[in-house]
C-alpha cells in the first residue's frame, strides 16, 4: 500500500513538474517575443500554447543520429544523465508543507547534491561527441559549475543559519511574515546570479554559446536525445526558480489563497516561481553573454568573497538583531551592485588608455563615451558628433 502510494506520488510530482516545464517553454517564447516586439508562437493552439508539444512530438519522430567516431556509451548515456537528476531533485522539494516527496532533514543539501550531476552530463556530452565545439562547451560547463557551486552554497549558508535547519519546509516556515530576501538581499542576488550560471542561461550560457559554439554540448545531438537535453534545461529553470522562491521569497507563505501553510499555498509558490522565471527570461532578453574567463573571475573574485561576507554578516545578525542584519546586508548589496557596474564601466580601461595614448590620429577623440571620464572627449569642429 505504501509502495503504491509512493508510486502515485512520484507520478503526480513528475506530471506537475513536466506540465510546468511545458508552461515554462511556452512562457519563454511568448515573453521573449513580447520583450522583442514580436508575438511568439501564435498559431499552434491558443496563443501557441501547444507549440512545445508540437516541437517535442516532432523531435520524437526525427531520425536518431549517433555520429561515427563518438564515444558511444558516454554519448548515449549523457542525455539520460542530464534528464534523470533534474527530475530527481523533486524528491526532496516541498510544494506545500504536506505535498512533498520526502521531507528530508538535509533537503537543501540533497537538492544541491543532485543538481551537481547535471554538469557531469554536459561534460560527458562534450567529451563524447567527437566535435571540437562540443568539447569546448563541455569544458566550459565544468569550469562554470566549479566556479558557481561554491558561492551558491555559501550564499545559502546564511539562509540555513537563520532558519536553523536544512529542511526546506523549515526554511519556508521560518519565513512567516518576513521573507529572507529582506533579511538576506545580498545572498539573494548572489544566489540569483549563481543560479543563472547553474541553469546555463544568458549571460552564462557557456556550454551552449550558440553564436560561438554553434550548439555547444548538444551540437551533435538530434531527435529524442536532444529533446532530453532541451527538456532538462527547462526543468532546471523551473527547479532553480522554485528553490529561489522557497529560500528567499517565502515559498507558500502569503496572505490569500490558503497561504500561511494552507493547502492552496501552492498558488503562492507558483506565482513566486513564475515571477523568478520572468526575471530569468528578462535577463536573457537584456544581456549578452560573458566570456568564460570573465565568468570564472566573477565567480571567484566577486561572488565568493561577497558570499562569505554575507555569511559573516548573518552571523552578526544572529547574535544581534534583524535590524543590524538588514542594514549590513543592504550595505553589502550596494557594494556588490556598485562593483559589478564598475566592472562594466571600466572594462578594458588600461588597454584602451594605453592604445589611445599612442594613437596616430591627427584629429582628436570625438565620440564621447558615456562610460568614461568626460575629459577624454574633446571635439574638433570638423568631426564633432552629437553626444
Amino acid at each position: 500500500m505504501i509502495a503504491l502510494k509512493t508510486l502515485l506520488g512520484v507520478v503526480v510530482i513528475a506530471i506537475v513538474v513536466l506540465v510546468n516545464t511545458i508552461v515554462v517553454m511556452w512562457c519563454e517564447r511568448k515573453w521573449l517575443g513580447h520583450m522583442q516586439s514580436r508575438q511568439g508562437p501564435l498559431r499552434t493552439g491558443w496563443h501557441g500554447a501547444l507549440q512545445p508539444f508540437a516541437d517535442a512530438i516532432k523531435l520524437l519522430g526525427k531520425e536518431d543520429i549517433v555520429p561515427a567516431n563518438v564515444d558511444r556509451p558516454l554519448f548515449l548515456i549523457a542525455p539520460i544523465i542530464a534528464f534523470i537528476p533534474s527530475l530527481l531533485t523533486y524528491a526532496a522539494m516541498p510544494w506545500i508543507e504536506s505535498f512533498v516527496g520526502a521531507s528530508l532533514d538535509v533537503g537543501i543539501f540533497m537538492v544541491f547534491a543532485i543538481t551537481a550531476i547535471f554538469p557531469v552530463s554536459m561534460l560527458f556530452a562534450g567529451w563524447s561527441s567527437f566535435n571540437k565545439y562540443s568539447l569546448i562547451g563541455g569544458f566550459r560547463a565544468a569550469a562554470q559549475q566549479v566556479s558557481y557551486e561554491v558561492p551558491m552554497a555559501v550564499a545559502i549558508a546564511g539562509v540555513v543559519m537563520l532558519a536553523e535547519s536544512m529542511r526546506i519546509s523549515d526554511i519556508v516556515n521560518a519565513q512567516h511574515g518576513l521573507y529572507y530576501i529582506i533579511l538576506q538581499p545580498c545572498a539573494a542576488i548572489l544566489f540569483f546570479i549563481a543560479m543563472l550560471a547553474e541553469i546555463n542561461r544568458t549571460p552564462f550560457d557557456m556550454p551552449e554559446s550558440e553564436s560561438e559554439l554553434v550548439g555547444g554540448i548538444n551540437t551533435e545531438y538530434s531527435s529524442m536525445r536532444f529533446a532530453l537535453f532541451f527538456v532538462a534545461e527547462y526543468i532546471n529553470v523551473f527547479t532553480w526558480s522554485l528553490i529561489f522562491s522557497l529560500l528567499f521569497l517565502g515559498g507558500w507563505n502569503g496572505p490569500l489563497f490558503g497561504g500561511w501553510d494552507g493547502p492552496l499555498g501552492m498558488v503562492w509558490l507558483l506565482l513566486k516561481t513564475y515571477a523568478v522565471i520572468f526575471m530569468v527570461f528578462w535577463v536573457r532578453a537584456t544581456l549578452p553573454r560573458v566570456r568564460i574567463d570573465q565568468l570564472t573571475a566573477l565567480g571567484w573574485r566577486i561572488l565568493l568573497p561577497f558570499a562569505l561576507a554575507s555569511v559573516f554578516i548573518t552571523a552578526i545578525g544572529v547574535f544581534t538583531n534583524n535590524f543590524v542584519l538588514i542594514v549590513l546586508e543592504v550595505i553589502a548589496t550596494a557594494a556588490l551592485v556598485w562593483l559589478i557596474a564598475r566592472i562594466g564601466e571600466r572594462a578594458g580601461e588600461a588597454r584602451r588608455s594605453e592604445a589611445s595614448a599612442r594613437r596616430c590620429s591627427d584629429g582628436s577623440a570625438i565620440i564621447p563615451d558615456p562610460g568614461s571620464s568626460p575629459g577624454s572627449a574633446s571635439g574638433t569642429s570638423h568631426t564633432e558628433v552629437g553626444a
Binding site: A54, A56, G61, Y221
Partner: protein, 192 residues
C-alpha cells in the same frame, strides 16, 4: 542516403508526384508497421506546426532570411525557429549562391541533418545559379546535388515569399506528404 552515388539526382517537378499519406507506398515505411494511424496523425500535426530551419545563408538571400525573423515578419508565430546545428534542424534553406568550394560543405551539412529533412531552394541562385549561372564556379541549382522540396523564386525573394514557402512545406507535412528525399528514395530504391 544513396544520393551522392547517382549522377542524376535532379528530381523533375512533374515526375515526382506527391505521395499522400494514404498512398500504399506508405506501407513501405518501416515505421508504419509499428505506428498506428492516430499516432501518424499526431506526428503529421506536429510536423505541420513545428519547423526548425537551419541557419544556412551564403549570400544576399541570407539577409532576407534573417529578415523573416524580424518583428515585421516574425516567423516565430508559425513555430518556425532557427537552429544552428544541422542535427536539430528540419529543413535547410539554401539562401544564396553555392560555389564549387561551398558545395561539398553544403552536402555535408545536408547529410548531417536528421530525417525527415527538407530543402528549400531560396532565390534564383539556389534554383538555377541565377545571375551567375554562366560563371565558372557556381553550382547551377542545388537540385543538382540534393533533392529540393520547395523552390522560392526571386533575387532575392521577399520575406513574404520565404514565409509562404515555409508554410507550404508545413502544410504538406500536415497532410502527410513525403519529402523530396523520401520520394526520391521511393522511386530509385523502392523504400523510404
Amino acid at each position: 542516403m544513396g544520393l551522392s552515388d547517382s549522377a542524376d539526382t535532379r528530381l523533375s517537378q512533374e515526375g515526382a508526384a506527391t505521395v499522400a499519406a494514404d498512398d500504399p507506398a506508405m506501407a513501405a515505411d518501416d515505421r508504419s508497421g509499428v505506428l498506428v494511424a492516430p499516432l501518424q496523425t499526431i506526428m503529421n500535426w506536429a510536423r505541420g506546426h513545428s519547423m526548425w530551419p537551419m541557419t544556412f545563408g551564403t549570400a544576399c538571400c541570407a539577409i532576407e532570411m534573417m529578415t523573416v525573423g524580424s518583428p515585421r515578419y516574425d516567423t516565430d508565430r508559425f513555430g518556425i525557429f532557427f537552429r544552428n546545428s544541422p542535427r536539430q534542424a528540419d529543413c535547410m534553406i539554401v539562401a544564396g549562391t553555392i560555389s564549387l568550394k561551398m558545395a561539398p560543405r553544403m552536402k555535408l551539412l545536408y547529410e548531417q541533418m536528421a530525417e525527415p529533412k527538407y530543402v528549400i531552394a531560396m532565390g534564383a541562385c539556389a534554383i538555377s545559379g541565377g545571375p551567375f549561372m554562366h560563371g565558372y564556379n557556381v553550382v547551377n541549382g542545388v537540385d543538382q546535388i540534393m533533392p529540393v522540396d520547395i523552390y522560392i523564386p526571386g533575387c532575392p525573394p521577399r520575406p513574404e515569399a520565404l514565409i509562404n514557402g515555409l508554410l507550404t512545406l508545413m502544410k504538406r507535412n500536415a497532410a502527410g506528404e513525403l519529402s523530396a528525399a523520401q520520394r526520391y528514395r521511393l522511386e530509385t530504391e523502392g523504400h523510404l
